[in-house]
Amino acid sequence: MSGGGPVADVIVIGGGLVGAALAYGLSREGQAVTLLDEGDNAFRASRGNFGLVWVQGKGSRSPAYARWTRASADLWPAFATQLLEETAIDVGYRKPGGLTLCMSEAEMESRCTLLQGLRTSLHEYDFQMLDRLELRELLPAVGETVVGASFCPHDGHVSPLLLLRALHQAILDRVAYRPGEEVIAIERRDGLFHVRTRRGTRAAIQLVLAAGLGNAKLAPRVGLQAPVVPVRGQILVTERLQPFLPLPTMQVRQTEVGTVMLGDSHEEVGFDVSTTVAASRDITRRAIAQFPFLGDVQMIRTWGALRVMTADGLPIYEQSQTHPGAYIVTCHSGVTLAAVHAKQLAPAIARGDLPPELDAFCAERFEECHVVQAQ
């Protein structure tokens, strides 16, 4: 079953937020795209996401990442409007700014230092440290033990599930979407990439690996590498409440329908999405310290999902040198970066050349890390 079908411009492997945003952007460039998605048994980070479009604090050791994140946050308002116009789906994007709550003076200081550093390297980077009083004015529900917070106007939040749905809806009639197609083999033959699944072989001029944790195995087949590991995050969600939190925090976010998401746990436990009492307890304790009234609120659901993490937490963007036309795209911020993936990365891939600003995200950096560690 090879070579018989039509040849696409690009095959994107992975139908989560990263792959769908790229398929969306590529198809808007007029590219003929085939999107291969795995089955319901895939570890879908996109289905377990917290929903922050988050800038503050990101890239403190990587100005390139800080700039890239900020670029996406700047693109987000127009991106959300465009999705609404194309699909009539309101993904619930709001940009009221975001807060990181600090529980001690020491946390306030280190937070301030971190954000000042980012402002110095990025220039236009707005943030403000709010003291106890200023924070209470903004959020009367905040607990006594909260010392203050950092506020950043570039932050926002969105429904990650509606975002995924909107992207898939938008590409429905312009991308060949193939669900349930796990990739078995990739070959380069006659200047084309041939991707084999159990249902057949698809051919394309270019290939994008956007398979999340699955990228680790796929990348070496086209001369790339993706040293990504799963980091589990657990999330709890409450009953619906009247609005009390007009802007998201790192760990507590009220959705537009009133439920409150509590999260931000990090565990390296392999490919295990189960939930634990210990993590639920840590998450709820912290949330109750931040917003005491939550102690009397009912939890309705909890779940675990796997972040796609590299050793330094940064994305990998790279075109293969041995297999030109093959790209790796992987990150743990598929929501935040969705706008820049659709509006900047996808057009770059369509042109066949990644911009120099993404040089910092080559996987080569991990080899250098190993060398340094060995010495």
Partner: protein
């Protein structure tokens, strides 16, 4: 659609819904008791303000939320009806201050 008890025996339990006195049988869930009494609207969803009623009857869908004895967002399918229960429509999201 109407609901009919398959077993009409048992002890009667009196409770109210929106101030209206109703009767149920001991051991029934609150959701079953309300459905048997002809109640279809249990709550108004905060998402669109539309009326909602029980869907799954097994604690999963959260469509049967009612206010019970001043406690908001109670799953009627997960509670047994008790004598003297004061049940109200769940109108929109819970006010955590209340």
């Amino acid at each position: 659609m109407s609901f009919r008890r398959s077993d009409t025996g048992g002890t009667n339990v009196r409770f109210t819904f929106e101030g209206r006195p109703l009767e149920a049988k001991e051991g029934e869930t609150l959701a079953a008791a309300l459905l048997a009494a002809g109640v279809r609207e249990f709550r108004h969803t905060p998402a669109s303000n539309q009326p909602r009623g029980p869907f799954c009857m097994m604690g999963i869908c959260f469509e049967c939320h009612v206010e019970v004895d001043s406690r908001a967002n109670q799953q009627a399918c997960m509670l047994n009806v008790r004598p003297g229960m004061v049940v109200r429509l769940q109108r929109g999201a819970r006010d955590p201050e209340a």
